[in-house]
């Protein structure tokens, strides 16, 4: 590559990046949101859930208990879960679950739930009428189940004691000896690698595609629509230089976005686990180099395809209509590779586009360096990336990329 070619590619990339940085909305979409997305999702969302749960816990609930004979210990168990009881006679029903005349008052929430309870020799039958679409009624249902479960356990223990048996040995005859976590021979680094292998390839794949979307469209169909492309095509730079310059710019933006999103993800996981459960994966220098190579090959392919398809489009709208649904071509394989068992995996999986890189990342994050797999995914990815780059260069060489400006 000549010095002038390199200079032009750098000038094109620099100009694109300067334009990108000057638009705060794009910065928000591609830099700030990826950085904050996982921390917000993993930290703020649980806080919201906790506050919602606390609100439910504070609810004063009233339940109708329909029974002919109430067990005092059950009454105490229901009081213990903060439920007010109003007693009524058990109606004449074939089965207790049948709503009968209670249907309306449960539906219109004049009561939170109705517990029906009757003794049948040495057992009890019960049913809880509730409205599953109401938070109050659901909460009443859950609290009643808790109370009934507690009471049932006490009743079982009482019967075991009455039979002259030991409660612990009868209910728990098989026990784990020692600390469960002690018995896992995987190191904390390997465990971290396993955990991260479930997140990082998915994030990388989806975010590489989606963060390249907007800049790819802006730098191609956007230029076409705004009428800046014609002036650019009159310059001494070749179309290949133009493609490479734009590719470098999109890849830089995408790379920064992906790295920031992974940082946000790691921060969130670390925060949730109080930095003790998840450690750093144990990766050799070779593994890290292979991970970087895999990401680079994937980015070359994805960015080239997006630039090519966006360049084919006559307008930003058309490019968006083509590229946005194509995200599914990344999402489905990405989700699919999460469930593929890596132990004894057949080699052909490492030759399938998109799937190959995602599987490679999973393997590498688990520090599994298998030469055969590496050769296959590296070889096929180079071929796919080259094909994508060739296709993109063909699109950039089309004469009609200027004609829609007429």
């Amino acid at each position: 590559m000549s010095e002038l070619t390199t200079y032009r590619i750098k000038a094109i990339a620099k100009k694109e990046l300067v334009e990108f940085v000057r638009d705060w909305r794009t910065i928000m979409a591609i830099i700030v949101i990826p950085l904050l997305m996982f921390p917000l999702l993993f930290i703020l969302f649980p806080v919201l859930l906790e506050s919602e749960a606390a609100e439910l816990d504070a609810l004063e609930l009233t339940v109708i208990v329909q029974t002919d004979l109430m067990e005092p210990s059950l009454e105490q168990a229901i009081h213990n879960v903060s439920i007010q009881i109003v007693y009524e006679e058990l109606p004449n029903l074939t089965v207790l679950s049948e709503p009968g005349e209670d249907l309306d008052r449960v539906r219109n929430l004049s009561v939170d739930a109705v517990l029906r309870f009757e003794q049948d020799n040495s057992t009890w039958n019960y049913a809880i009428l509730h409205l599953s679409t109401s938070e109050r009624s659901n909460e009443a249902w859950n609290r009643l189940l808790d109370a009934l479960s507690t009471w049932e356990s006490e009743e079982v223990e009482r019967r075991i004691v009455d039979s002259g048996l030991d409660v612990n040995t009868t209910l728990d005859p098989l026990r784990w000896d020692g600390d469960v976590s002690q018995s896992d021979v995987a190191t904390s680094g390997e465990q971290a690698g396993m955990l991260l292998s479930l997140f990082i390839p998915l994030v990388l794949a989806i975010w590489t595609y989606s963060s390249a979307l907007q800049p790819s469209i802006d730098m191609t169909a956007g230029e076409r629509e705004r009428g800046t492309l014609e002036a650019l095509l009159c310059l001494p730079c070749t179309r290949m230089e133009l493609l490479l310059g734009k590719w470098v710019a999109v890849a830089t933006i995408t790379g920064v976005g992906v790295v920031l999103q992974i940082c946000g993800l790691l921060f969130a996981i670390g925060y949730l686990a109080s930095s003790s459960v998840i450690g750093l994966p144990e990766l050799s220098v070779l593994t890290v180099a292979l991970i970087v190579a895999a990401i680079l090959l994937f980015a070359i392919m994805v960015v080239a395809i997006e630039l090519a398809l966006a360049m084919r489009s006559h307008s930003v709208k058309e490019a968006g209509s083509i590229l946005a649904p194509m995200l599914l071509l990344i999402v489905f394989p990405a989700l699919f590779t999460q469930v593929i068992n890596l132990d004894g995996i057949e080699s052909f999986w490492f030759a399938i586009p998109v799937v190959n890189i995602l599987l490679a990342l999973r393997e590498l994050l688990m520090n599994r360096v298998i030469a055969e797999h590496i050769l296959i995914w590296a070889g096929t990815s180079i071929v796919y990336a080259a094909l994508a780059a060739y296709y993109a260069s063909r699109q950039f060489n089309r004469e009609d990329i200027v004609t829609s400006l007429s």
Binding site: K15, E19, R22, R226, G227, E230, C234, L235, P236, V402
Partner: protein, 277 residues
């Protein structure tokens, strides 16, 4: 004298449309050549062929040294109709970007830009983002951008279209100045009066053909006309074709889909015929 730019039997077609048909044209050094024609005549296609954006379907577009224009784009300065400025860059950044593509140092580009910016009254605007620029300022910035690398031929596609009187006059004055300095300018316009005022030579393009090529006096003489307008009308008597927007060249399915959702225009009422006439 060897022409700076030579077009030999240049034809250009887009699918079924013959945009240009066997055009022969020589552009000599120091000339201001006006390409005059109606919308859709082929002026922009001709300029794009000269700029190397299009490749001729047949024929050649060669510079004086025998190289095709695509090999020597440094020789050209182009102002397309759309100006093509980046709105998030300043005027100077737009100019500098193109100069860098031409391999010109920022220092040299600035020296030339500063010189012409004074003539165009643009010195104070060079540091401003072009987003808020008027059409005139955009056109002037595009001119500065095209001149910054010192081209030997300047291609201007309707440079005064949409400009106010003062801005249009400033642009014309700059062209005069370039001519006085020995520059070569190819100037596309559909205004005959402007062409007469600015150009040494007028090339009338109609329906993809060159109908006339000469000085204003030569055009008057060859058509026995008293005004250039009469000469133009005499040379372009056949109906001008409609401009073919390339956007309209869409796939068959796209065309069918669009027409399915496009209502037909209301029927034209039949004219009443007076039987007495």
């Amino acid at each position: 004298m060897q022409p700076l730019l030579t077009l030999t039997s240049v034809s250009k077609s887009f699918g079924d449309l013959q945009a240009l048909d066997r055009v022969d044209l020589d552009i000599n050094a120091g000339e201001v050549v006006g390409l005059v024609g109606s919308n859709g005549a082929g002026k922009t296609t001709l300029l794009r062929l000269m700029a190397g954006v299009y490749t001729p379907t047949s024929g050649t577009v060669l510079l004086a040294d025998g190289n095709p224009v695509t090999k020597m784009r440094q020789a050209l300065g182009v102002v397309p109709e759309s100006t093509g400025l980046y709105s998030r860059l300043t005027a100077w950044e737009n100019i500098r970007y193109h100069s860098r593509m031409h391999g010109i140092s920022d220092k040299d580009a600035w020296a030339r830009t500063a010189k012409f910016a004074q003539h165009l009254d643009m010195v104070d605007s060079l540091g401003r983002h072009t987003k808020g620029f008027s059409r005139g300022m955009r056109q002037k910035t595009a001119l500065l951008r095209a001149l910054a690398h010192g081209p030997s031929i300047l291609l201007l596609d309707e440079p005064t279209a949409g400009l106010d009187i003062t801005s249009a006059r400033t642009v014309r004055r700059l062209v005069h100045q370039l001519k006085n300095e020995g520059g070569t300018v190819i100037y596309s316009t559909h205004q005959l009066a402007e062409a007469e005022q600015v150009c040494d030579r007028i090339v009338i393009v109609h329906n993809g053909e060159v109908r006339a090529d000469g000085s204003p006096e030569e055009l008057l003489k060859s058509t026995n006309s008293t005004s250039l307008e009469d000469a133009y009308v005499a040379l372009t008597k056949d109906t001008a074709r409609q401009r073919q927007e390339d956007d309209e060249k869409e796939g068959r399915f796209t065309g069918m889909w669009r027409s399915f959702f496009t209502p037909k225009p209301p029927a034209t009422p039949a004219l009443e015929v007076n039987e007495d006439e």
